[in-house]
């Protein structure tokens, strides 16, 4: 288990009313499960189902875009940035 920091941006930060969040987890999927437990319905409503969330959300782990969350192991001090797509201009 590693203690990692989760940062939220844009409307996600506004809706979840929290940033940053510190989570102990082994991999990114565990972080997501933790967020589902913590925010429950609100989190699922924002993200939809897990599979869709992985496709349509932007996750940057220490700046690197994640596309395969299950295999992404975490280490102490990692920072996970989470965005919802915003298209305005």
């Amino acid at each position: 288990m590693a203690l990692v920091t989760v940062r939220f941006y844009a409307l996600l930060r506004l809706r979840l009313s929290t940033d940053p969040l510190h989570v102990e987890a082994t991999d990114v999927m565990e972080v997501i499960e933790h967020l589902e437990q913590k925010f429950g319905h609100q989190f699922r409503q924002e993200f939809g189902a897990n599979e869709k969330m992985r496709e349509s959300c932007l996750f940057l782990l220490n700046g690197l875009n994640l596309r395969n969350l299950k295999q992404t192991r975490l280490k102490e001090g990692d920072i996970l940035h989470v965005f919802l797509p915003t298209a305005g201009g």
């Binding site: 959300c57 690197l64 797509p85 915003t86 298209a87 305005g88």
Partner: protein
């Protein structure tokens, strides 16, 4: 001439040589909403030699709150944004060659529009065209500056082909969930596009002058919470665009609009969407129009337009044969 630019010539980062480089420069601004109007007016005032502005939309009253180049007369005259921008800016600086183009930028025409550009500025309201800009930028090695603003939040990053991660490196795998939020569904306050557009403008000036420190990180700003973050992004090893595969420019992805013969309607297809949640879509759309739905389709009435949306992301825009208009409405309210 010198007097007009005297204050920025005094600035050591530009000087007389920098001013000459600005005068020799050519920028292309794709999208002329809040970001685009800030960028366009700033670059024309700065004396950039050629400014090409491309936009598919008309001006509406709800634009005036943040789109600084337009006024009520433009609406009364029914002007497209690109034309109104060109007219206003020619009165600001007659020495700049300003070209307003009313067009729906897509994979068939973008290479023509960016020909000769030293830099491309993003004033768009959708992801799809940004991914198209990204492809054309990488293919022709033209830097571009991404900018996005919604609600009180905005992001920007400068993409230099071959040097920085590209937009696709740090974009989501798909934006096809059907609930991509836009200014038309989530709202926006004017300070955020003003700030993001100004940062984009500064990047354009630095690139044209060839001086200053470019923003190679993803800047994230929220003017409501007062947060300013800079995120280091990294290239993605399996990014198709960085590998020279330009899927959006090749027309493999992207929204397609087709006028339905004899029906006075346009069908819009978005191959990226597999399944829409009408419940989620209703939550966003009911803020701006009338929404009703059943398990088969969702009806949405807004600004005198009627859209019928299906679970697979397909939409029919009624009472028009204008494919560009239909794509625009789709981008605004469903998101691409």
């Amino acid at each position: 001439m010198i007097d007009r630019y005297s204050r920025q010539i005094i600035f050591p980062g530009i000087g007389e040589e920098g001013q000459r480089k600005l005068g020799d420069g050519c920028v292309v601004i794709i999208g002329c909403g809040a970001l685009g109007t800030i960028i366009a007016t700033s670059l024309v005032r700065a004396g950039v030699g050629k400014v090409r502005i491309i936009d598919r939309d008309f001006i509406e009253y709800h634009n005036l709150q943040r789109q600084v180049l337009f006024d009520e007369d433009d609406i009364l005259n029914g002007l497209p944004k690109a034309i109104a921008a060109e007219r206003h800016l020619k009165r600001v600086n007659s020495s700049v060659e300003i070209e307003g183009i009313v067009a729906d930028v897509n994979y068939t025409n973008i290479e023509r529009f960016v020909r000769g550009a030293d830099i491309i500025l993003d004033g768009l309201d959708n992801f799809e065209t940004r991914l198209l800009i990204n492809d054309v930028s990488l293919k022709h090695k033209i830097p571009w500056v991404y900018g996005g603003a919604i609600s009180s939040f905005g992001m920007t990053m400068t993409i230099i082909p071959g040097e920085t991660p590209c937009f696709r490196c740090f974009s989501p795998a798909s934006t096809g969930r059907g609930t991509v939020l836009t200014c038309d569904t989530a709202g926006v306050i004017s300070p955020i596009p003003f700030i993001i557009g100004s940062l984009q403008t500064a990047e354009a000036i630095k690139i044209l002058v060839g001086a200053g420190e470019l923003n190679r990180q993803l800047i994230c700003i929220d003017v409501w919470t007062g947060s300013f973050d800079r995120l280091e992004t990294a290239p993605r090893h399996d990014c198709p665009a960085c590998q020279g595969t330009y899927e959006f420019l090749d027309g493999r992805f992207g929204v397609r609009a087709t006028s339905l013969c004899g029906q006075n309607s346009v069908q819009v297809l978005n191959p990226k969407i597999e399944r829409l949640s009408f419940k989620e879509l209703e939550a966003h759309l009911k803020m701006v129009g009338k929404v009703t739905y059943n398990e088969f389709m969702l009806h949405f009435d807004v600004d005198g337009r009627e859209m019928v949306i299906f679970p697979d992301g397909r939409a029919i825009v009624k009472n028009t044969t204008d494919e560009s208009l239909a794509r625009g409405l789709y981008a605004k309210y469903i998101g691409t």
